[in-house]
Chain length 275, copies 2
């Protein structure tokens, strides 16, 4: 009833830090171990089989590091790899949660009109997982790939004229449509202001929050919660620590640290006994 192992959080880069921040708020006692696969970011434009291969490699590294649960904090990885990751997690005795199902559940609670839209990367939208989960329960699902939102978030251009115009161009076709919109990419919460302005009166679902709540529930059910103390976060990346810290600050509010570089082409981790 007092499991000290960290929760693993996995993303292709910095975007999943929005999920890490939500987990930190929902589960303040837990240690969090984040892995950003920055050598192979972005997943959003890769093929399904490539994303699945990358995701399984990352997960196996985190299992070796002794995590007690895995949160797939990346919509594209959840889209293409959740079934394979869940199967691997079962073999390792580790529960696996994606970011898509909690966001879908929240959108279904929020919508009144039964018209829901999802915004995401090309890979997430093409993968169709949001659409498949929503369709049986609502009147209409719309999906929009908003490729430039990621670049805007990483450049820090999250408000102002450029961000406003880009949001306008992507979202104008959704006006007078859905009453609920899911931010189906972990970068998009940084652009929430301009997205809301482009879609007045529409409910915005940030799946980072929903995922954090779902993770707390799952850990409680499994008796895996840490009951007391103050959790720490640490970070692994597969390339370019400096850029991760620089861009990561926009997503986390503070500079992510400590960060270690990990080589996923070799079988051993870098924290080793120092974890």
């Amino acid at each position: 009833m007092h499991d000290l192992r960290p929760i693993g959080v996995f993303d292709s880069g910095v975007g999943g830090l929005t999920v890490l921040a939500a987990l930190r708020r929902a589960l303040p006692a837990e240690d969090l171990l984040y892995l950003g696969d920055t050598a192979r970011v972005p997943y959003g434009t890769r093929s399904a089989t490539t994303v699945e291969r990358y995701a399984l490699r990352v997960a196996s590294h985190l299992y070796e590091d002794g995590i007690k649960a895995l949160v797939v904090a990346c919509n594209t990885a959840t889209t293409h790899a959740l079934p394979a990751l869940t199967a691997a997690g079962r073999r390792a005795g580790v529960p696996v949660l994606g970011v898509i199902e909690p966001g879908v559940a929240e959108a279904l609670r929020r919508t009144r009109s039964g018209r829901v839209a999802v915004l995401g990367t090309e890979g997430t939208i093409r993968g169709g997982r949001y659409q498949a989960l929503l369709a049986p329960h609502v009147r209409e699902v719309q999906a929009r790939a908003c490729g430039l939102f990621v670049g805007l978030a990483e450049e820090g251009w999250t408000d102002g004229e450029v961000a406003r115009l880009v949001a306008e161009r992507y979202l104008a076709p959704l006006r007078d449509g859905p009453d609920t919109v899911i931010l189906g990419c972990t970068h998009y919460p940084l652009l929430r202001g301009v997205i809301e302005a482009a879609l007045p009166g529409v409910a915005i679902v940030d799946s980072a929050e929903s995922t954090a709540v779902a993770t707390r529930e799952r850990l409680a059910e499994a008796g895996l919660l840490r009951q007391a103390g103050t959790g720490r976060s640490r970070f692994l990346v597969t390339d370019n620590v400096e850029r991760f810290q620089h861009a990561g600050r926009r997503f986390l509010g503070v500079v992510p640290k400590p960060v270690a570089l990990v080589d996923l082409d070799t079988p051993t981790g870098v924290f080793g006994g120092a974890a």
Copy 2:
């Protein structure tokens, strides 16, 4: 005096197709073999050592495929890997050309005021190769990382209000400064219109053109030119053929084909005897 082997052209993704198009015009008789490392694109945000490792792997695949020259059609790979690629090319008996030196030479021919600027990805600008090559010969060098230009080019938003505003924001600090600007990223020629509009009266150097001319000269000196016939192009990518063809059309004017998927984690190529 009549060498039928193809010229290898290498980029991290689709951007190098602007160089391929320029080579096609300058060397209409030559066969061209393009390799886009789309499983590991973008190189622009990766560390120097990672880019060098990826570039050497790609080059070795092209050497095995029997190329007679290698054009590194990627500014980031030229920045971080040209010395290592040139050394490997010497061992393979293959001349290697990057995109940076020809663009620098052209800028030095064009500038009157001796004030030159270069626009590029974060990796290219951080790498400092343009700055190091220009500085001894000019009064002033300015360098600007324009991260969002790549996303705009790939999204096809190359004119209109968004592109105009983004160019304005990146380039306004250069106004009343340099008289010559190098497009130090193979994506940027697609945005030439908005870049010129943001910098009226400034000479724009497109290094794709300069590189094609330099390649023709180098092959002529080495006696490697194909003297007659109509060259063909073929394409290799490391992931997602469909996306390469879709995005590639914007860069090449036509859909790139034939395209084959190649796995750089295994030692053998895919065209094999069918080449």
